[in-house]
Every structure is written in structure tokens, then in C-alpha cells.
């Protein structure tokens, strides 16, 4: 599936929940379901530091596609990381660099995008795009 198709799928899934509580319960479920990150990848250079919670992102390039792993000590952050992994893992660096992330707004998580130190989402997206940029020419 393309990045856009996956995003649409996520938007549809979240549309099933009217109540914010259910949405967050779903995010928490995604967080809990995220496959465990290889402990050797939870290192300082993979750490995205914020004031609020710690997030690790690790990337591998296989057959021209990027594969991401992530973990966080906050479960909502981990859930959001899980969504990003679903959208970006298995995509080419080129497609990642050029992707628009409109699903975040559509599922009502825009508040997590404000550029304060407290949020992980913006830094996570940035980090993913940096990785993709770095691999794009390779």
C-alpha cells in the first residue's frame, strides 16, 4: 500500500470512534501492541529527547525501503509512534521525504503537533524525514 492509502485506512479506523476516550484507548492499544524494540537499538543516538517522554526511533534500509522500529516510555507517544511506523515502514526514502501527513489532523491529533518541547510527534516526524533524506541519495 502507498503512504496515502495507509493514511486513509487509519483515518477510517479512527472515524469509528466518536468519543475522544475511545480514540485514545485505541492509541493506547496500538502502543501496547507495538512490537518490542531491539534493546541494542535503544541507544542515545536513537533517542528523540523531549521534556515529557523519551522516544527511540531506529531505521534499517532493506531492498531500497526503510523499516522503522520505535519505543517510548509514554504509551500515548508509543501509540503515535506505532501509527507513524505503520505509515512509513516499508516505504522508499523518496516517498517518505515527499509524503504529506494529513491523517494526523484528520484523526484529531493535531494538538500533538504544536512545536513545544512537550510533544513527541513533530520531532518524530522530523526524525523520520531526516532518516529518509539521508538515505534518499544512496
Amino acid at each position: 500500500m502507498t503512504i496515502e492509502e495507509i493514511q486513509n485506512q487509519i483515518v477510517d479506523e479512527f472515524a469509528m470512534y466518536d468519543d475522544w476516550m475511545d480514540k485514545y484507548a485505541y492509541l493506547i492499544e496500538i502502543g501496547n501492541g507495538l512490537s518490542a524494540m531491539d534493546e541494542t537499538h535503544k541507544i542515545e543516538e536513537n533517542l528523540i529527547k523531549g521534556c515529557q517522554s523519551r522516544v527511540w526511533f531506529h531505521v534499517d534500509l532493506r531492498d531500497g525501503k526503510l523499516y522503522f522500529e520505535a519505543d517510548s516510555d509514554a504509551i500515548i507517544t508509543k501509540g503515535i509512534a506505532g501509527l507513524l511506523i505503520r505509515v512509513f515502514s516499508g516505504q522508499t526514502p523518496h516517498d517518505i521525504v515527499n509524503a504529506n501527513l494529513d491523517f494526523i489532523d484528520k484523526i484529531g491529533l493535531t494538538q500533538h503537533l504544536s512545536p513545544t518541547r512537550s510533544n513527541g510527534l513533530l520531532s518524530m516526524v522530523k526524525q523520520i524525514k531526516y532518516y529518509a533524506l539521508a538515505y534518499e541519495g544512496k
Partner: protein
């Protein structure tokens, strides 16, 4: 007679709905809301009197200058300083401490001297001293606290020696809520000839402060934590010290005469107020203090004390709750965690219920390290909070427990 419902009417923001739910504002430790009286006063000055202070010959300039200096007198009276010369307007607590660290540091700190802070200080009362120590090759010493959040006074006494030049201590800890025995600390420090700076950021809105009674050498606070505007703060300093300290920033207002050969500096307090001050913010701060005075700090303190007791009792009953800071003398701040749930998750979910709290390291990383946690959640109360709001907050915490147990 203290009437919380009447007070709430002065704060329109408390009527706001957040995601369709009534706002429960429990982030007062970060900043308090401003009453209509403050906003209206500032608006009036913006709309009718705005004009630069201390230099005009015209009516408006004189009007603003008078208001600026009147506010200084209101502050003086509020903290009971001897003279308005000892009341300096800054941008806030952080700037006040930096000013002292720089200029007191220039005048009084030599290589090998010692400065003492406590383990529970806000970063604003740590980093400026570290920077000073680096500049002067002085040494920073730290007084630890116990798990209840009380300073180890024995340790403090042990650290006091003739090399110590200054002790920096929070009156009330922004994380633990501990009301520190500042008077005792000041007396002990003075006995060995050291000076004391009291960080009053979390105290000024809750506790009656009398700088002469305390005999502190410096007292600092911010306007926005006592229902005043942001961007205005106070540095109180004893006159004889302020006089010995060199100016910090150079510019207009702080000078007596400017010659390329030699410039001479203005008298106190203007020596430390270079550039155009936020004079309308200053007027707003004066109005905020008048507002607090009209309600009465004693009445406020009693009401908040009752509310704190109620809140602590309620929150203790929540399953899995971990409380940080259980000092005998505790004020207005409840820092906590819920077992197995990250504070960021707690704050995010509470927010969705209209409850505003603070989460994270609370600008006090050493306190986080003390308890070995990545962060905390913090609810902090003000005079306009109610028991119903505490109930809504606790109800929210129970809901979060449920979401996580699904």
C-alpha cells in the same frame, strides 16, 4: 469574608469550555490567571495613557511615570521593603536571579568562594549560579532533601563555612510544595557572613512575605504567578548590597551622565533598569497586588490551606497514586504519578477532560533524579479553585486508571 464564587467572577477564563468541558485550571504553579481588574487597568493604560516613562515633559509621560512609580510603592508595601529604592523591576524571577548572579557575582565572588543551593531548586535558581561559579572559579554546593521533601538542615549547617558567600533557596518548592524554613536558613547564613537570595516565585501568591522580618538579602518573584501580567518581575535587594553591585545591562535610564571618557550611573533603583521598562505590565502588577490585598493574603492562605487538605485527602484515595513531597509544611502544589502510567499520558488524558495540569520534569531535573522518575504530573491550586474542581480532577484520574485497565 472569602467568597470563592465572587472571586471566580473576576476571572472570565474560568468559564471557558475546553473540548466542550468546563475548564478545570490546576496549572497555577506555571502561571495564574489574571482578573478583569488587571486586564482592564492595562487596557486603560494602553488605550488612554501610553507614553514612555521617566523622560517626557508632557502629560501622558508623567501619568505613566507616576503609575510606574506608584506600582513600585505598592510592591514595596506588599513585601514590606524599607524603601522603593530596593524594588527593581525585571522581566521575571529568572531575570532577577540572573541579575544578582551576575552583578553580586562581580562584586562579591572570588575564586574558591562557595555558593549553596538546594536539591529542590527550580533550574532558574541553579543554572545562573553554575554560570557564575564557572566564571569566577567558585564552587557550588548542594543541600539535599529527604524523601518527604524536607531540606536536610543538619547538612546545610555543615556546609556553612567562611568560604560561603551566598545561599539561594526557594521559599516554596515548585515541585514538592515544601515551605522551606527560610528564616532559619537566613539566620544561619548570616551568622557566618553569607548572604541569602530567596526565590519567592511559588510563595508570593500564597504566603505573606515581609522581607525585613525575614531579613533576606534578596527576594525575587514574578508578576504572572500572582495574578499579574507576564514579563514583569521583582528583584528586592538590600540597599547596601545593591549599591555595591555594578550595573548589569547598560543603556538609557540607568545612566547619570554619558561621556565617551566616562559614564556615570543612575541611582537606585534605576541603575538596574536599563532601557524602556514594561511600564504597563508594571502597572498591571501593581493592580494585581492591590487585588490580592483587597481579598487579603491571610484569607487566601486559609482558603487554600483548606482546599489543599481536601485535595490531598481525595488524591490519596486514588489507587496506584504516588505522591512526591509530603512535608509537614506544604503549600499549593501536588506532584504525583500513577503506577504504571507515564505522566505525559496522565496529562494528555486529563487535558481531554478539560483538566489542565503540568507534566514533565517541571524545570527541576535534580528533583526527578532524586526520586528516580522521568517526570511527574503536577496539580497546583490558586485562590479561585474549588472543591468541585478537585473532585473533577480526581474523577479524571480514576477514569485514566480505567482506560489503562481496558
Amino acid at each position: 469574608m472569602f467568597d470563592v464564587n465572587r472571586i471566580r467572577k473576576d476571572f472570565p477564563i474560568l468559564e471557558e469550555k475546553i473540548y466542550g468541558k468546563p475548564l478545570v485550571y490546576l496549572d497555577n504553579g506555571a502561571t495564574t490567571q489574571r482578573p478583569l481588574q488587571v486586564v482592564e487597568k492595562m487596557t486603560e493604560y494602553y488605550l488612554r495613557y501610553n507614553s514612555n516613562v521617566h523622560r517626557g515633559v508632557h502629560y501622558l509621560s508623567n501619568k505613566c511615570t507616576d503609575a510606574n512609580e506608584q506600582a513600585r510603592e505598592i510592591v514595596r508595601e506588599f513585601i514590606h521593603a524599607k524603601s522603593t529604592d530596593e524594588v527593581i523591576f525585571t522581566r521575571g524571577t529568572t531575570e532577577s536571579i540572573n541579575l544578582v548572579a551576575y552583578t553580586f557575582g562581580e562584586a562579591f565572588i572570588r575564586e574558591g568562594d562557595e555558593i549553596i543551593v538546594t536539591e529542590m531548586e527550580h533550574h532558574a535558581n541553579i543554572v545562573p549560579w553554575q554560570m557564575l561559579c564557572e566564571r569566577k572559579k567558585a564552587v557550588l554546593k548542594v543541600v539535599p532533601f529527604n524523601d518527604k521533601g524536607e531540606l536536610d538542615m543538619e547538612e546545610l549547617r555543615g556546609l556553612l563555612n567562611e568560604r560561603v558567600k551566598l545561599v539561594g533557596v526557594a521559599y516554596v518548592s515548585n515541585v514538592l510544595g515544601t515551605v522551606n524554613p527560610v528564616k532559619e536558613i537566613i539566620d544561619a547564613a548570616h551568622a557566618i557572613g553569607a548572604y541569602v537570595l530567596v526565590d519567592g516565585a511559588q510563595a508570593i501568591q500564597h504566603i505573606r512575605v515581609d522581607v525585613q522580618m525575614l531579613d533576606c538579602d534578596f527576594f525575587v518573584f514574578s508578576g504572572h504567578k500572582i495574578y499579574g501580567p507576564t514579563g514583569v518581575g521583582i528583584l528586592y535587594g538590600k540597599r547596601n548590597l545593591l549599591e555595591q553591585m555594578p550595573p548589569w545591562q547598560g543603556g538609557g535610564e540607568m545612566i547619570k551622565e554619558v561621556r565617551f571618557e566616562k559614564t556615570t550611573y543612575n541611582e537606585l533603583p534605576f541603575k538596574f533598569e536599563a532601557g524602556t521598562p514594561d511600564f504597563i505590565g508594571v502597572v498591571g502588577l501593581g493592580e494585581a497586588l492591590e487585588y490580592v490585598k483587597s481579598i487579603g493574603l491571610q484569607e487566601i492562605a486559609e482558603y487554600e490551606h483548606g482546599l489543599m487538605d481536601y485535595a490531598m485527602k481525595q488524591i490519596r484515595e486514588i489507587p496506584g497514586i504516588i505522591l512526591y513531597g509530603d512535608a509537614i509544611d506544604k503549600s499549593s502544589v501536588i506532584s504525583f504519578g500513577i503506577e504504571g502510567i507515564h505522566p505525559f499520558d496522565v496529562g494528555t488524558l486529563l487535558d481531554k477532560m478539560g483538566v489542565a495540569i503540568r507534566t514533565g520534569q517541571l524545570c527541576a531535573e535534580p528533583v526527578m533524579q532524586h526520586y528516580g522518575v522521568p517526570g511527574m504530573a503536577r496539580a497546583s491550586i490558586a485562590m479561585y479553585n474549588t472543591r468541585e474542581e478537585i473532585d473533577a480532577f480526581c474523577e479524571g484520574l480514576r477514569k485514566i486508571e480505567k482506560i489503562f485497565k481496558l
